[in-house]
Symmetry: C2
Subunit: 252 residues, 2 copies
DNA sequence: CCCAGGGCTTGACCTGGATCAATGCATGCC
DNA sequence: GGCATGCATTGATCCAGGTCAAGCCCTGGG
């Protein structure tokens, strides 16, 4: 498994006056031809590059007043909800190009913590300004609607209380596909988070994660070396995951 | 328990040229003073009243192209996702004033079925028209953002995989509060759905729902007669539910 | 160098809730 | 009326995964 990338990818490009970061969620807007150029430059102007956040440090905290949404530029960020009895629940891991903070619009406070899993850089979008801008940039409004809508179903994945194997298969495959959509290898990748976090996110005990990984390995469907993962039989994993994960998104 | 309402509430009011239905999600928009009256009348014009849908009939189906969002006017509607292996999962029950279909924006197809639980009337909002309108009506845009954002966290409730008792407590209390927010009794109400649906929604077996209801009853916290429910100790239920249900919303 | 601490794995045991099965009780249909 | 159907409840059994415990390996610090 020497071919595995052992270090995180090179620092994200920062975009320039004319173009946003290549991974940016608003990339499509930027690429469109009929966009009001002045408004577009305003959108660009409103973006604030922030970071680095070291592993474990907060981007925002539960209860903080909602001021902005954030797009991950590089690194990985987890969103953590406080559960009952001091437990916490990791709702998701967010890769470069993904947006966090949208759930805060409703109550105007963040309902969860956002914590860097490894060193992370983000883009910050002041929300009031963004919302004003969208009245002049219908494409951006549409994109925002899309982003919000996308997040609605996301938690539904665990809803059927699938078996541990199905959860893990869906998790690995989902990660693989999201990485692939951002230009990384779909077959071979590195888990950025510790087992405990995977377990928490999937509502399993860390021990169970270990056991299932071993089971999948013994069946010859994956190779595991520490946090390095190789998917040998994504087809079998997909069969296992069943309807859990979204359609093999042909994004954009 | 003779005081229990044994029939569903009177038919919802239909609003008039100047005001929307009293339960309508866009009620606040309507009440605002500084709204562009012409645009507002357009919003009203765009609403289409549909129904009745008899119990079991579809408002929309999984995979259908997304054309509109819907607000429940009266009755109760469930949203059902197809799970793996032919199972289905009930993501939520939607009361009058609540909006369904928002999750379809992302893929431009409905990701779930919407099925009437009892006789239901709805309002239909053509989405393209609505989205165009929002560029002139910032309040409506903000309301849409709020609605979308609200739905993001909703599935997170089951995320911690709480015990059966906690789930049921949270479910009953949540229902009670949502009903109260719409002017019904918070203490005494009628479950509109069968046990099987409750079980499915909470990821429990119907037998477990029965047993837990009995347990809560034996502790003197609720009274159950068929689908009639009386909450005797909402405080205890809230303690049980813990952090599962949202803060006792002071809505708007 | 040794040691401490954390992440990961593996084994042994236990339990909450699923599953299977039977019964009671409505409602609707012929 | 008599029967079928479907909902609800209760009892008996089973198992997936949680919990507890032990051991391994790696890294970093004194």
């Amino acid at each position: 498994m020497a071919e595995l990338r052992s270090k995180p990818p090179a620092p994200a490009d920062d975009g320039d006056a004319a173009n946003f970061c290549s991974t940016c969620v608003f990339g499509t807007v930027c690429a469109a031809h009929d966009v009001d150029k002045i408004a577009l430059s305003e959108l660009h102007f409103l973006v604030e590059h922030i970071g680095p956040f070291r592993a474990g440090s907060h981007i925002f905290r539960t209860g903080e007043p909602f001021k902005a949404i954030y797009a991950v530029r590089s690194g990985v960020v987890k969103t953590v909800y406080a559960g009952s009895a001091g437990r916490e629940y990791i709702a998701g891991f967010h890769l470069p190009g993904e947006v966090i903070g949208l759930a805060a619009i409703h109550e105007q406070r963040f309902p969860c913590d956002a914590i860097a899993v490894d060193t992370a850089y983000l883009c910050r979008f002041e929300f009031r300004t963004l919302a004003t801008l969208t009245t002049r940039l219908p494409q951006v409004q549409a994109e925002l609607f899309r982003l919000l809508s996308k997040d609605i179903g996301s938690a539904t994945v665990l809803a059927g209380e699938p078996a541990a194997d199905e959860r893990l298969a869906a998790f690995l495959l989902g990660l693989s596909r999201r990485l692939a959509a951002r230009g990384f290898s779909a077959r071979v990748f590195r888990l950025p988070m510790v087992r405990r976090d995977i377990a928490n996110h999937l509502n399993l005990a860390p021990e169970t994660v270990s056991r299932v990984l071993r089971r999948l390995h013994d069946q010859g469907w994956i190779r595991v070396l520490d946090r390095q993962i190789e998917l040998l039989r994504p087809d079998e994993l997909a069969r296992l995951a069943g309807a859990l994960l979204p359609v093999p998104q042909v994004r954009r």
